[in-house]
């Protein structure tokens, strides 16, 4: 089956955020990030809003959680988070040593869903 016809006129508004125009490939809607430390006074207003969400938080937030909390478009937040990871303000949570290297995402999701019914 061939893909649906692309509508070339349907685009998202162009965004430039913190010097970045594209999100990192590994920064997706579901990507969880945690705050690192560092001065935020050089950041733009939206980036500061992101960092303020993490103030005092014991845990992370996914890109989608940030977009919902700040009422920003998820495409913008992907870019903001990407640049805040570049600058070291945000990072990916690091797996504990006992996190098996062969952690099988699909098997864990299946096991997790089955445990709920």
């Amino acid at each position: 089956m061939s893909g649906p016809r692309r509508d070339p006129d349907m685009v998202r508004p162009y965004v430039r955020t913190q010097g970045r125009i594209r999100a990192r490939e590994d920064v997706r809607l579901e990507s969880v990030v945690i705050a690192a430390t560092g001065p935020t006074d050089t950041l733009g207003p939206d980036a500061r809003r992101v960092m303020r969400l993490f103030a005092g938080a014991n845990g992370g937030l996914a890109v989608a959680d940030i977009a919902a909390a700040l009422e920003l478009p998820p495409s913008t937040v992907r870019i903001l988070v990407s640049s805040l990871m570049d600058s070291g303000h945000l990072s990916s949570p690091v797996a504990a040593i006992d996190d098996q290297p062969d952690f099988d995402l699909l098997q864990e999701v299946l096991r997790g869903l089955r445990s709920l019914v």
């Binding site: 016809r5 590994d26 430390t37 845990g59 445990s115």
Partner: protein, 215 residues
């Protein structure tokens, strides 16, 4: 954070005063399943049924340049539409893994959004309503085009016609291996069973891209 006033520190609310539910510090991995389908087919209901946190909503503005024949000046108008996406979250694997569920509108004119937002999804659950099976075609076309594996679940609305499975498969143009199941999106267990059916299928038909680890 350096710039955050100390009064913010204990304050676990967003700028509109709603509580922010943080991902537990134990979570080091996350994954995404997309729930798609036509208008009013039960996407929001399903996400609300299974999510362990209050479902949230994001809004993405998209601009459509309309070049209608009635545009006498010949300059394209731009109309901005806002596409709303709901999502919820389930924690699993002893708190190490967060599974996010995103409701994406199935209309094919939202394809650019899909490319961005469905990228990296484990798979998709397509909801269908037998009163309007054609409404599922856009979502199915988007998924086929993007190579995202999916299962179909018929959401059973009162008074909706019932068809033999073979007829449903033909009407939806499903591959023989594609799972076709039934659910009541208002029911948590029923919704979870549909997600299990999808995930079982994914473990048997996993695309190579999924073998790469992902956070």
């Amino acid at each position: 954070m350096d710039c955050a006033p100390s009064s913010d520190r204990a304050d676990r609310t967003d700028e509109s005063g709603r509580a922010v539910t943080y991902v537990p510090a134990t979570v080091t991995r996350s994954a995404k399943i997309v729930v798609a389908g036509g208008f009013g087919v039960g996407k929001t209901t399903l996400i609300g049924s299974v999510s362990e946190v209050r479902p949230l909503r994001m809004e993405e503005p998209i601009t459509q340049a309309s070049t209608g024949v009635d545009d006498l000046r010949g300059t394209p108008h731009k109309t901005t539409t806002t596409v709303a996406m709901d999502f919820g979250r389930i924690h699993m694997a002893g708190g190490r893994l967060a599974l996010y569920l995103f409701g994406l509108p199935g209309q094919s004119r939202f394809q650019p959004l899909w490319e961005d937002l469905a990228e990296g999804a484990l798979g998709c659950l397509v909801l269908a309503d037998t009163r309007d099976l054609d409404a599922s075609h856009d979502a199915l076309g988007l998924l086929d085009g993007a190579g995202i594996p999916y299962a179909v679940a018929i959401n059973t609305f009162p008074g909706a016609p019932e068809y033999p499975e073979a007829e449903l498969r033909e009407a939806l143009a499903l591959e023989p291996a594609t799972p076709l199941t039934y659910l009541d999106a208002r029911d948590r267990i029923s919704s979870l069973h549909a997600l299990i059916t999808l995930t079982e299928y994914l473990t048997e038909h996993r695309p190579a891209a999924l073998l790469e680890s992902r956070r």
